[in-house]
């Protein structure tokens, strides 16, 4: 989509894509290209991102073009488009699915790599957003506002709360166990590998096939539990 050369529509690809992603792509068939989402969309107001156009491109079979685009990563996930859409198309959810597709196809890792530590925190500590604050500006402002050190533990204490939110040891063990058997741990490791490997070569059609085989994996995820 960021490309400017004329592209051939690939309608023959669309039927392959339709059944991916929990039916979200199929839902796009309802789109009547009215543009109401675009008028509502904060990302469209600021960039060349255009959900209506993106939907049309997917329906035309050009999924690869979408998943390799940078625009796919511009969506704010605000759901304003969904709230506005006369056909109840949940586009942000579709975007989420397409982003997985993008990552599996080797395109989007760069956009999510900053999140990976959060996922690791979830695994290790049961929380994705942890307490320690490193930004000196934030701490400084807080110090000025609260009359404490500006450190969260002190502010919590001031309110009579424990200095840190606790997650019980049992809970942590459970979370880790469940993460292992459900395949989530493996997924996170895969993500790390992808991050370290960097952007991959872009053999598009093959990538689409990869997305499809991921779907197959979904149906089979309880199997991994048996292996565990």
């Amino acid at each position: 989509m960021s490309k400017t050369e004329a592209r051939k529509l690939r309608p023959e690809l669309y039927p392959k894509l339709r059944d991916l992603t929990f039916g979200f792509v199929r839902d796009l068939e309802k789109c009547m290209q009215c543009g109401k989402c675009v008028g509502a969309c904060p990302a469209a107001a600021l960039t060349t991102y255009n959900p209506r156009r993106m939907i049309h491109n997917i329906k035309a079979g050009n999924l690869e073009e979408v998943i390799e685009s940078e625009e796919l990563w511009s969506c704010f996930f605000c759901s304003t488009c969904y709230a506005s859409c006369p056909r109840d198309i949940n586009f942000p959810f579709t975007v989420a699915m397409l982003r997985y597709a993008s990552i599996y196809a080797g395109y989007g890792v760069e956009y999510v790599k900053k999140i990976i530590p959060y996922a690791q925190d979830y695994y290790r500590r049961g929380l994705t957003v942890l307490q320690p604050e490193k930004n000196p500006l934030v701490i400084g402002r807080r110090r000025a506002n609260s009359g404490t050190s500006g450190q969260m533990a002190d502010i919590r204490e001031q309110m009579g709360m424990p200095r840190e939110r606790k997650i019980s040891a049992e809970a942590l063990a459970e979370v880790q166990f469940i993460s292992d058997v459900s395949g989530m741990t493996k997924l996170m490791k895969d993500m790390l590998k992808r991050r370290d490997a960097g952007p991959k070569s872009r053999d598009r059609i093959e990538k689409v096939e990869t997305v499809k085989s991921r779907e197959g994996k979904f149906a089979g995820f309880p199997k991994e539990q048996e292996n565990a």
Binding site: M32, C34, K36, V38, C41, P86
Partner: protein, 667 residues
């Protein structure tokens, strides 16, 4: 036993080339019922028909089988032929040995065998046929038209002009419908009241039309040609005869209610008439708001004022019963509730208005005298935005269908805006422009090219209010970029939907309606004004969104259909109808559930409840017959015995030795 004659046609070589006609004749003769069998080159020709007539007379035949082409082609021909010889026309059957046999077979023996089978089956059926008479129904020469909009008025006038009496029932105090609210009409921009009011007056003064305004249909019974209707005439509280329409009472009523006719832009009293040219020009007292009725006789001002003593608070609703032969339904539409679009701020921002409000704002006889101004501060708008498809093409908030008229009405509104405000900026945001009609596309082009209206593709997402301006946020799909317009006035084209009470009226009338409440026609292409109930016809918006030209054409079509019934003294129709055997019927009424035409009613037989088929209404589909758990229903021409005779006839090969029988014999 029946004496059946068999006539096998060659159809030139069409049949004879593939079927051994002589053999078919020969085999037929072996059947015990057959007393005469012969063949002929062209049985449908005049000499061919004569051959049949002669045989009937000569051999005293009381049943005829013509083995020839499809009955869909020549059944009427041969029915007429046998009738010509004095035989009941329902005692003839056709064996289809051309379309179903000679034309599709590849083997002469096989084709001949099949022809023999088909003839035998028909002979067995004919043996079970019974003489029937056409059904004749009396007709009451009077029509009922429900709804007095432009469609209802047209239908009433068309019928009345042929000299037949018409009752025109209108719910509101005046006839006229929605068209009476408009200033101009697309695509010609003629003045709506100039063309409508004369017709309203004509209807009111027509010697053959009886107007019942402020009235509703409460009950309909009977059937085509002979309906009985109960009409509830709401208490008007003002004597139609005494009132001169002077309007003195209107001035003094202390009650103020938003006027429905002015779309809430002006007030009316509890005693009111919707608009000055109302027909009849006699006010009503709206008892839900009148102080006299709300507070036990307090007020009474209007009565004191009335110079002709026309006001009477005592009357009650009245029910009258009338007989009619046909009914035209023309109850029209109403508007989608724009307040459901909170993103557009209707109801929250005074300068976001509905298109009906816009019609009233631009109407020379409207509350502003036709001056187009903002409701908030009375200023002339410098920028006007129209938003299409509000409530239409929107299954999320409204309806999935296209309201069909609003693209055109919006083009009209934009052109009217231009004529009033030469310097204004006018935007019209649409998804697609639907302008399929004579002169319609040209009209839209005129708005774009000559009147400088900006049509922008994109459905707006939000209307925000900021410092007295309205910000319209939308995509401009031509550029693929979002855009904003600072508007002074936003007009929502909140589409058309079926009347809220449409399903209730459908129930009273026994007609079908779709999931949106629009009444369903019998066939979308070939029977567009008929309903599933014979004798009830549709006209105008009550059947689906349409513009005035279409509403009026449909009204004339409905009138013509009604006149097909009303112009006759009697209705005749094929006796292919169902009939209940009351002895067997247990009164479960399961059959009523499956009858799409509501032809089945409850009846009493030997002090038991039983079902009864109304032959005037039954269309002869046979669904009920197959459905009845007790085998109590039968159907003429296609009764169980007759169909069984055909089936068993296929396997009833005359004698074991005879060649060429059905499958069973070939075992």
């Amino acid at each position: 036993m029946r004496k059946v004659g068999v006539f096998v046609c060659h159809c030139g070589t069409n049949i004879a080339a593939m079927v051994d006609v002589a053999k078919v004749v020969e085999e037929s003769r072996d059947l015990p019922e057959v007393v005469f069998a012969t063949d002929y080159q062209f049985t449908c020709s005049a000499p061919g028909q004569d051959q049949i007539k002669d045989a009937i007379r000569e051999h005293n035949l009381d049943g005829v089988v013509v083995a020839a082409c499809s009955p869909r082609m020549h059944e009427p021909t041969f029915r007429n032929a046998v009738a010509g010889a004095g035989l009941n026309p329902y005692l003839v059957e056709m064996a289809n040995i051309r379309e179903h046999d000679s034309w599709v077979a590849t083997d002469r023996d096989e084709a001949t065998r099949k022809a023999v089978d088909l003839v035998r089956m028909k002979v067995k059926k004919v043996a079970k046929l019974e003489p029937l008479e056409e059904i004749r129904l009396p007709v009451t020469k009077k029509a009922l038209v429900i709804g007095g909009g432009v469609a209802g008025i047209q239908a009433a006038l068309d019928i009345a002009n042929t000299g037949i009496d018409v009752l025109l029932v209108e719910k509101e105090p005046s006839i006229g419908g929605h068209m009476a609210q408009y200033d101009k009409t697309f695509p010609t921009l003629d003045c709506a009241s100039c063309i409508l009011t004369p017709r309203m007056v004509e209807a009111a003064q027509h010697p053959r039309i009886t107007l019942h305004t402020y009235s509703e249909v409460a009950e309909v019974s009977g059937f085509v040609g002979d309906f009985e209707v109960k009409i509830r005439m709401r208490a008007r509280s003002i004597d139609l005869e005494k009132c001169t329409g002077c309007g003195d009472c209107l001035e003094k009523c202390p009650v103020k209610v938003p006027s429905e006719f002015d779309a809430g832009l002006a007030d009316r009293g509890a005693v009111y008439r919707p608009f000055p040219q109302a027909v009849p020009n006699v006010p009503v007292i709206d008892r839900e708001h009148c102080t006299y009725f709300l507070k036990d006789g307090k007020c009474g001002i209007c009565q004191k004022i009335c110079p002709t003593d026309a006001i009477d608070y005592s009357g009650d609703d009245e029910i009258i019963t009338e007989k009619v032969g046909a009914i035209v339904v023309a109850t029209g539409f109403h508007f989608f509730d724009a307040a459901k679009y909170t993103e557009y701020g209707y109801g929250a921002y005074p300068d976001v208005i509905s298109w009906l409000q816009y019609e009233r704002l631009t109407n020379a006889s409207g509350p502003t005298g036709g001056k187009l101004k903002r409701l908030s501060d009375g200023k002339e708008p410098e920028t006007i935005v129209f938003i299409h498809c509000v409530g239409s093409r929107d299954p999320s908030k409204g309806f999935p269908y296209c309201s069909r008229i609003c693209c055109m009405a919006t083009a009209k509104h934009a052109v009217i805006a231009r004529s009033k405000l030469p310097n204004a900026q006018i935007f019209s945001f649409y998804i697609d422009i639907r302008a399929a009609g004579k002169g319609y596309e040209e009209f839209v082009r005129r708005a774009i090219e000559n009147e400088d209206v900006q049509f922008i593709k994109g459905r707006p997402a939000r209307v925000l209010s900021k410092n007295g301006k309205l910000i319209v946020r939308s995509e401009n799909a031509f550029t693929g970029r979002p855009m904003e317009v600072d508007a002074d006035l936003v007009v929502l084209t909140n589409g058309a939907q079926a009347q809220d009470d449409a399903p209730e009226l459908a129930l009273i009338l026994g007609i079908g309606y779709d999931q949106y409440g629009f009444y369903t026609e019998l066939h979308p292409k070939l029977r567009p004004v008929e309903t599933n109930r014979a004798g009830i016809f549709l006209a105008g918006m009550c059947q689906g969104p349409k513009d005035i030209p279409e509403s009026v054409s449909q009204a004339s079509a409905a009138a013509a259909k009604a006149l097909q019934i009303l112009s006759k003294g009697e209705l005749a129709r094929e006796p292919q109808v169902a009939e209940v055997n009351a002895m067997r019927c247990t009164g479960c009424m399961d059959c009523r559930e499956v009858c799409f035409y509501t032809a089945i009613e409850e009846d009493e037989f030997m002090r038991r409840k039983v079902a009864k088929v109304n032959p005037g209404v039954c269309q002869g589909c046979g669904a009920c017959v197959a459905h009845c758990p007790d085998g109590a229903l039968e159907m003429k021409i296609f009764n169980d015995e007759q169909i069984h005779a055909e089936i068993t006839g296929l396997f009833a090969v005359p004698s074991a030795g005879a060649a060429g029988g059905g499958g069973a014999a070939r075992e």
